[in-house]
Amino acid sequence: MKSLAHSIEMHGMTDAGMVRGHNEDAISFDAARGMAILADGMGGYNAGEVASGIATTLLAQGIAAALEVVPPHVPEAMSGKPAAHRILRLEIEKANLAIFQTAQSQPQCAGMGTTLVAALFYDNRVTVAHVGDSRLYRMRDGEFKSLTRDHSLLQEQLDNGLITEEEARRSQNKNLVTRAVGIDPQLDPELNDFDVKSGDIYLLCSDGLNDMIDDPDIALVLSTLPNNLPLAAEQLVQMANDNGGRDNVSVILIRINRSFAAERSLRSRLFGWLAR
């Protein structure tokens, strides 16, 4: 497949924070393949980092291998959805099973799991898969917003009107997620598609960032340093740590430098035209 490295720039950083002894977050990204993966592990004494490590490693390998076989934009015959959906779903299911089985067979890994947010960029769009409370944000034309909705108790309470935004900020229940990778043999990751524009900046982060820094401050960093992703990532991690750094903090920043429409063969364009 064609490298996207000339269209997409990525930079990531992960840090244990100021309180925790070790880092249970894991990140993986590859601009050439348009792929970014972030996981926030949990459970056991050190097993959280095992779970997040398995998730990012298996997913990165699995997606890379699948992209060699089929381009992500090609619609699937059965579902009509781009192949990216099947690839993400399948690879997340595989990682889920690998973590679940490891947790079952290794006593020191019992009960481990991980949140996950993965983004796959192709054909001027992005498919975002997420499980748990790791997030993907987008900065576009000065508007900063989260494109993922947490799978968490707080988000459920917000959706049901049982709690206000203000109460959610004060809640003691920030640590309760309703979905995680590796907890059950079955997993339903949430997948969503978004169009991508030149100039967009995307942020994948663990809750160690958005629990420690308010959204306007995150937006301030991205709008001030759009052309220096490494420095922006450093600033975000530093601000989380300056505010207490009570959790591991991880970020992956992605800037879209130019359009990256998929190259379509004459045949597929003809079929696409006929199918209209």
């Binding site: 950083m13 840090d15 244990a16 924070g17 100021m18 309180v19 925790r20 002894g21 070790h22 926030d40 949990m42 056991g44 004494y45 959280g48 019992a110 009960g111 799991g113 949140t115 748990g132 409370d133 108790l153 459920e156 309470q157 049901n160 049982l162 709690i163 109460e167 004060r170 809640s171 003691q172 229940n173 920030k174 640590n175 309760l176 997620v177 309703t178 979905r179 995680a180 907890i183 809750d207 401050d217 301030l220 960093v221 001030t224 340093l225 052309n227 220096n228 420095l231 450093e234 600033q235 991690v237 530093q238 601000m239 740590n241 300056d242 505010n243 207490g244 750094g245 009570r246 959790d247």
Partner: protein
Amino acid sequence: MAKLILSLDGTVLREYTLEKNAVSIGRKPNNDLQIDNLAVSGNHARVDVIGSDVFLEDLDSTNGTLVNGQTVKRQMLQNGDMIEMGKYKLKYVSEGTKPGLPDDFDKTMVIKPGALKPTAPAGTSPLTAHTEQMPIPVARPAPAPAPQAAAAEAAAPAAGEVRPGAIKVLSGGNAGKTLDLVKNLTSLGKPGVQVAIITKRPTGYFITHVEGPSHPLVNGREIGVHAELLADKAVIELAGVKMEFFYK
């Protein structure tokens, strides 16, 4: 475990520990916490315990429920909140979510989706949370990746607000103007020529080079790739303009 302390005219009548997920309060005897007074409705209010959060909901009582003097319908309670029903007062006391833990910022746990109905604290049946072993607090080396300016980094986190600082322009067309550094991040310079940021941190104000072939000068010396702490009255030279940083 959180509790409610019932009092009348300053005399404590009883303490009620919130062990159930839903606690009813009212005049009728079927309530978990009965207050036998005509100013209190039969079924006056309910307290929901959801994980580590506690909510108070008024059940359309005749005389209403106050929290810290304000009429409420439903509200999340905070330690020390004073609830009033008629002449009776209920003080809400939360004794930390899980006493004995090194910090109150619990590690992430999984619960079943839809476990929204008031759930028991972690560990009991409706919550399928795994018991989490807490990390032994380990002194952690200074955060490696953050741009560091010597020992200033080691200062206690979140140590409150830093003193207000500002920039005064000394040369060029804007000479004499001052800029208050109110934001956590302020960008200075000319995009495409030379840009630096000043970050407001608990330990002071730091300047960091962002773009341009040369780095800004601080007191005549070119700064490196890392953030540098700005001393009071430091003179910054950036994109051909001199300016002074000072604490207000």
